[in-house]
Amino acid sequence: MDQERERSWTLRPHVSRKVPLIFGGLLGLGTMIFLVGLRMDPLRSWQAYLINFLFWGGIAQGGVVFGAMYHVVGGKWGPPIRRCAEGMVAFLPVNFVLFFPLYYALNMFYGSVREINPVRGAWFDPRFIFVRGGLGLGLMTVLSLFFVYYSLRPEVGWLQEQKLRPRHWLYEWITDGWQGQELEAQHCQRGLDVLSAGVLVVYPITYTFMAFDLIMSLDPFWYSSLFGGYFFISTFYLGLAGLALVCVLIRWQLGPSVVTSTQLSDLGRLLLGFNLTYFAMIWSQYIVIWYGNLPEETQFIILRLWEMPWAVFSWSVFILSTFVPFLIFLSQKAKREPKIVFAVSISVGLGLWLERYVLIVPSVWHSEVIPLGWIEIGVTAGFLGAAVLSYLFFLKNFPVLPFVSPIPSSADLDKQHAEESPAKVRLAR
């Protein structure tokens, strides 16, 4: 058994030295461009910053939430996929740090709102937004980290026992107070149960407020009660797309035995499902606003959907992140085909980046020229760099194939309990 574990431990994508360099470069470049941009056109650079902050943070968070969900429903179909998802946690602390600079942007964004809508002024005092946003994100990050921590601990513990790896502060920290496999299995089990629930409960709330505070309120009049729900669904969808992308890459690295076609197609089915959910969220808002025809609601929508130039963006969002994936994933075969899955996740990601763009920019940007150029690209590149680096860091240090698993989730335990129940009706295997 140990050999088997050892095999899966060694089975890690070996990333060529160049890759970190390239993305490090991107990060540096992005930072530079951002700083320059701040001098030249602060508003523009800040809005680019906000877009990417929401986008990359969204991918990471979405991934972790997937992991938590996988645990809660007691999924069995793809340990590596679960681990790939957990890996995204690596970017969350970075993202949390990246939230602080926004403090300087908020004043710029909300000055006008406070003038037009004094009633809500106090609520939009940047300091207040900053504090509540910070607390939410902080909590979210901590929960996510500990969730993954409990998932990794047994394996790292085993590694330490086997002395397969030079001592390392990270491992030391993770396996602090190690009490041996069996005990730990139980202990981590409980931890996972609690934290996964925690993640799943806190996530919607935090992201609802992110949506209300950082996007919806940029427009002083518009409001939509579903917007929060819409945003956390969209973010989760984004996370899934990111996950699919990573999985395909891993598969290409380590071969189809690690990430099987079946697992891909299951992932694909999930994507399809959330594609529909995401669309339902858009539709539920659109039809209501269309029908009600109340100016305070319609203006926001019309401006983005029917007025140039924003219409272009909105419709490409629709095509890239909703329509195309739907058509493609209708077919069973497509879902099993790595290349196609890869392409689709790219398209979804692109679409959702534009989505955040078109949600934010028209509210704060009031000049003729469309703010889409080197600043935006630069800032995006920077975030990309940061995200990839942190993910590589995770891959480097932790096994892609969770080998001290399947950790039986409490759901399974229940099922075992069910097996003992008088009737031998066998439930979920």
Partner: protein, 973 residues
């Protein structure tokens, strides 16, 4: 759908004809002259209009009656009549429900042995009556005849007839009389008259309790004047202040309300005179007069008055200055307290020193009301009755047993009269104690004339055959005299010929350059003959200088509340209480229907621990009644107010047993100087009964909760010149839709709307709107398509009532339309929000989605007890149970006009189409027309800077533009 509806109407029309064929015989109908000459008389489905005179109150407005298939279906004001100029009040609109009242007396009745009234034939009835009269054997003065003020041929005929039976006592009785005013005019100016008031020229109207928007003298006329002068023109508008113990509708429409204890008005007026003279503002007064006046008002310095009346001396001075500076102004007095004459005299002096007499107060053309016989003389006759000096009493057109105080004692007294004859058309308190009832025609069925002001002679022609076996009073008397062989004295075949003769004399007097027939025909067609009368100038009557001014005195315990009974907009003195439309018409200020109440100030209510709807016992030396409480700041502390008109014991199903009449609480003692009945002379004790009695109000909430439904603008802001705010350009969710030919729209000027509610009744009459009764209305199920919403925007100290007529806004983006699953409501090409009754399945979603809540649902099958159904407008569907209904700008009238235009192949003229509400509005607040036609009045008004849409933020794009009410604030001077 339109097609279908018209087919349906044809059928209705036919059935109408068959109904009308029932007896179109006599000469009268041949001698009728329609207002608009049609080719031939009765055409199925085509209206014929007849001019006549409204006799529901002494104002004597001219009306046009619309008859279809021989039955009157709608009345409108007669545009040629100088008093109302084409407009009518709520009572006038409801007059048809007198004609078609299901409780009308349908044939002569006599009191049988068992004490009940039994039908008799006219012949029999005349025989009995003739017998009784001949028993008098020339002692004609044992016969008394009570009528209202008639001011016309019939009045003279009655006198003649009385003479023919050897004289007799004649009483012209009006519950709302102006005896003290008449007397005061004698004292002040030596003319025992009631002058003409030209409110439309008055820059400042100071009303001492005169409710000229509801009942005072000539409400329709004065409402028009008031609105005309209130209109904002060239940077200014007329101002008005109301002095009185409670806020009437008139008070609610004034800039200021100065609450005073009843009876103290005189001192306020004198204080003002004093101030005016002191400040030397009175110009052109001859020295002796000035001297005399100064002597009279000397004791009444503003300071002294301030103490008496309880308002600051400065305020009195400000009012005084304003009253003179805003020349011409006018002060009106409707005094009802024990010192009523004093008050009127004081007010006369005020007008005199301000130079209003001859300007806004004109003697010369006197009001018919001046002919009223005083309540004092009435009392005298009652005493005679007690001594048995009267053996026959004729009562026609009045109901003293309801209106006079001490009803019980009165009934006993009448009981002493061997033979009481009532000519009433309805069973009422008086017919209850009559031996013989000879039902009179309603004025719609009889000839007559009425001269409300000298020179203004309205000619009243019957617009249809009598519904029942009833007769005109004139005819009855003439037939009677035939029986009594008095023909040589009264040689006329019937009243119609007498009337013609009377007009022959008039013809001789005014000598128009046409022959009599043309003159007559023209007068009948136009509804009368109208001459202006020269103003005669008056001087102060020396007698006035000897006048001493008394404080008011009250009967009843000193700690009681001063009782204020007040006639109401809907019921006048109570004679209208049997009209279901008026019963269901919310009182504009209280929004209460079907009953009356006792109004008490919150502070007093708190003292007595009275809560809303507590049933209270109100007691005075003369009697006691029970009424539910309405707690309101509309009355000043220390007084209680009760509307008059309800509390009938016998007046048909709609009036009987509703509320109570405060008149029975008053003391019978007439006022010393004028002999008038003292209305405000009683203190009452108010006690809890521990019971509750729910009043039915149509108002869901009195406040508008910052919804901006009634919007106002300050006079200052208007003077500083505002621009109509252009809305920020809105991005449209869907393309604008176009109205190819017309876009019907409406403008409602909230500054002109006084809340008189005439439009509401007019709408009910035009659109066959059923009445629901108290319980249903209490639950919010009234059916009115247009309603006068009253919002109290005032402070805790002082209410501030705003009125807004709310009807279907016929929105461009009507939220009600798209939600209907069956297209029962849709937007028609002329911009109407059409409602197809036959298509409606009754999901009621449209009403839920209507922000203005102007859609009405037929909860039950509507009831029109015979013969009310004869009034139904054949051009409008009667809606079935379970369907939604609403205002469509009187689409039947629009179609009618369009058809007419088509036949004459011409375009529609602006103002050709007039919905019922707009047609009757006495203040012309409602204007309807085509918004597409830039020349139309409505299109021009819609551009007014005061214009706004209700609930604009919902983007419903209503067809109705409201013009903001102008808040002028307190008068300055």
């Amino acid at each position: 759908m339109e097609i279908k509806r018209r087919d349906f109407l044809k059928i209705l029309g036919v059935s109408g004809v068959t109904a009308a064929v029932s007896g179109c015989s006599s000469e009268t109908s041949r001698t009728l002259i329609p207002y608009l000459i049609p080719e031939n008389e009765v055409v199925p489905g085509q209206a014929t209009w007849y001019a006549t005179v409204c006799r529901e109150c002494p104002a004597g407005c001219g009306i046009l009656a619309k008859t279809m298939e021989g039955r009157a279906v709608k009345v409108e004001g007669n545009p040629d009549h100088p008093v109302n100029q084409g407009r009518l009040c709520a009572r006038g609109q409801a007059s048809l429900q007198g004609l078609y009242n299901p409780d009308r007396i349908r044939q002569p009745l006599r009191r049988g042995a068992d004490g009940n009234l039994q039908p008799v034939s006219w012949d029999e009835a005349e025989r009995i009556l003739a017998g009784r009269i001949s028993e008098l054997k020339g002692q004609g003065d044992r016969l008394a005849f009570i009528t209202p003020v008639m001011a016309g041929s019939l009045d003279r005929l009655i006198d003649l007839w009385l003479k023919s039976v050897g004289g007799g006592k004649r009483l012209r009785y009006e519950p709302l009389s102006y005896e003290s005013l008449r007397e005061a005019n004698r004292i002040a100016f030596g003319v025992q008259e009631i002058p003409v008031y030209n409110l439309q020229n008055a820059n400042f109207i100071l009303s001492f309790g005169a409710d000229f928007l509801e009942t005072w003298l000539s409400p329709v006329e004065y409402a028009r004047h008031f609105a005309l002068r209130r209109a904002y023109r060239a940077g200014s508008m007329g101002r008005s202040v109301y002095v009185g113990p409670r806020i009437s509708l008139t008070g609610a429409n004034s800039d200021e309300w100065i609450p005073v204890q009843p009876g103290n008005e005189s001192f306020l007026a004198l204080g003002m005179v004093n101030a005016i003279l002191a400040e030397g503002l009175a110009e052109g007064l001859p020295a002796p007069e000035l001297k005399g006046l100064q002597d009279i008002v000397a004791p009444h310095t503003p300071e002294a008055v301030a103490k008496q009346v309880g308002i600051s001396a400065d305020k009195i001075r400000v009012l005084a200055r304003a009253f003179v500076k805003k020349h011409p102004s006018v002060a009106l007095a409707d005094a009802k307290s024990s010192n009523a004459t004093d008050i009127c005299v004081a007010v006369n002096l005020l007008n005199y020193v301000a130079g209003n007499v001859g300007a806004t107060v004109r003697f010369g053309a006197e009001a018919a009301m001046a002919q009223v016989s005083s309540y004092g003389s009435f009392q005298k006759h009652l005493r005679e009755i007690e001594q048995g000096a009267i053996s026959i009493l004729f009562v026609a057109g009045v109901n003293p047993l309801f209106n006079l105080p001490e009803g019980k004692r009165l009934r006993e007294r009448l009981g002493k009269i061997p033979f009481v004859v009532s000519f009433s058309s309805f069973p009422d308190e008086t017919t209850e104690s009559a031996q013989l009832v000879l039902p009179e025609n309603t004025f719609f069925e009889s000839w007559g004339d009425y001269e409300p002001w000298t020179g203004i002679r309205g000619l009243q022609q019957p617009v249809m055959e009598p519904l029942y076996d009833t007769r005109a009073l004139g005819d009855i008397l003439l037939l009677l005299s035939t029986r009594l062989q008095n023909n040589e004295k009264l040689p006329w075949k019937n009243f119609y010929f007498y009337l013609r003769d009377q007009w022959k004399e008039l013809y001789r007097r005014i000598k128009p350059d046409v022959d009599f027939e043309t003159f007559w025909t023209e007068s009948v067609r136009r509804g009368g003959n109208f001459q202006s009368v020269a103003t005669k100038s008056v001087q102060l009557n020396p007698e006035v200088f000897k006048k001493s001014f008394q404080p008011p005195v009250f009967a009843g315990a000193g700690d009681g509340f001063a009782l204020i009974p007040y006639p109401t907009l809907a019921f006048y003195d109570g004679r209208m209480a049997n009209r279901p439309w008026l019963q269901e018409l919310p009182d504009p200020v209280s929004q209460i229907v079907w009953e009356n109440w006792l109004e008490i100030h919150p502070s007093d209510a708190e003292k007595l621990g009275i809560k809303k709807n507590d049933l209270l016992q109100i007691q005075s030396p003369a009697g006691e009644i029970k009424l539910p409480a309405r707690i309101s700041k509309n009355v000043r502390p220390g007084i209680v107010a009760i509307p008059v008109g309800q509390g009938h014991s016998a007046f048909g199903r709609y009036a009987q047993g509703r509320g109570a009449s405060p008149m029975s609480l008053l003391s019978a003692e007439p006022e010393a100087d004028s002999g008038a009945l003292i209305w405000y002379g009683t203190r009452v004790a108010v006690r809890q009964t521990g019971l509750k009695h729910m009043l039915a109000s149509t108002s869901g909430n009195d406040r508008s909760h910052d919804r901006g439904i009634v919007q106002t603008i300050s006079l200052a802001a208007l003077q500083s010149g505002i621009e109509k705010k252009e809305h920020p350009h809105l991005l449209r969710m869907y393309a604008e839709h176009h109205h190819d030919k017309h876009r019907w729209g409406m403008v409602i000027d909230l500054n002109a709307c006084v809340g008189c509610s005439a439009c509401v009744v007019a709408c009910s009459a035009e659109n066959n709107i059923p009445i629901m009764g108290k319980e249903e209305v209490a639950y919010g199920r009234e059916m009115s398509w247009i309603r006068i919403q009253r919002y109290d925007e005032g402070t805790d100290e002082r209410p501030d009532h705003h009125f807004i007529p709310m009807l279907c806004q016929n929105c461009d983006n009507a939220p009600c339309e798209p939600v209907c699953p069956v297209y029962a409501t849709y937007h028609n090409p002329e911009g109407l929000n059409a409602q197809v009754y036959n298509r409606c399945v009754g999901t009621r979603y449209c009403s839920n989605n209507c922000p203005y809540k102007v859609r009405r649902f037929n909860w039950h099958t509507a009831q029109w007890p015979e013969p009310l159904n004869l009034q139904l407008n054949p051009n409008v569907t009667v809606r079935e149970m379970g369907v939604m209904e609403k205002c469509t700008f009187c689409v039947q009238r629009i179609r009618g006009a369009e058809l007419a235009a088509k036949e004459e192949n011409r375009d529609l003229r602006d103002g050709e189409i007039v919905p019922a509400c707009s047609q009757t509005c006495p203040t012309r607040a409602i204007v309807f027309g085509d918004l597409h036609d830039p020349e139309s009045e409505v299109a021009k008004l819609a551009k007014n800077p005061r214009g706004y849409h209700v609930l604009e933020h919902l983007n419903t794009q209503p067809a109705i533009t409201y013009l903001k009410k102008i808040k002028a604030g307190p008068v300055e001077g």
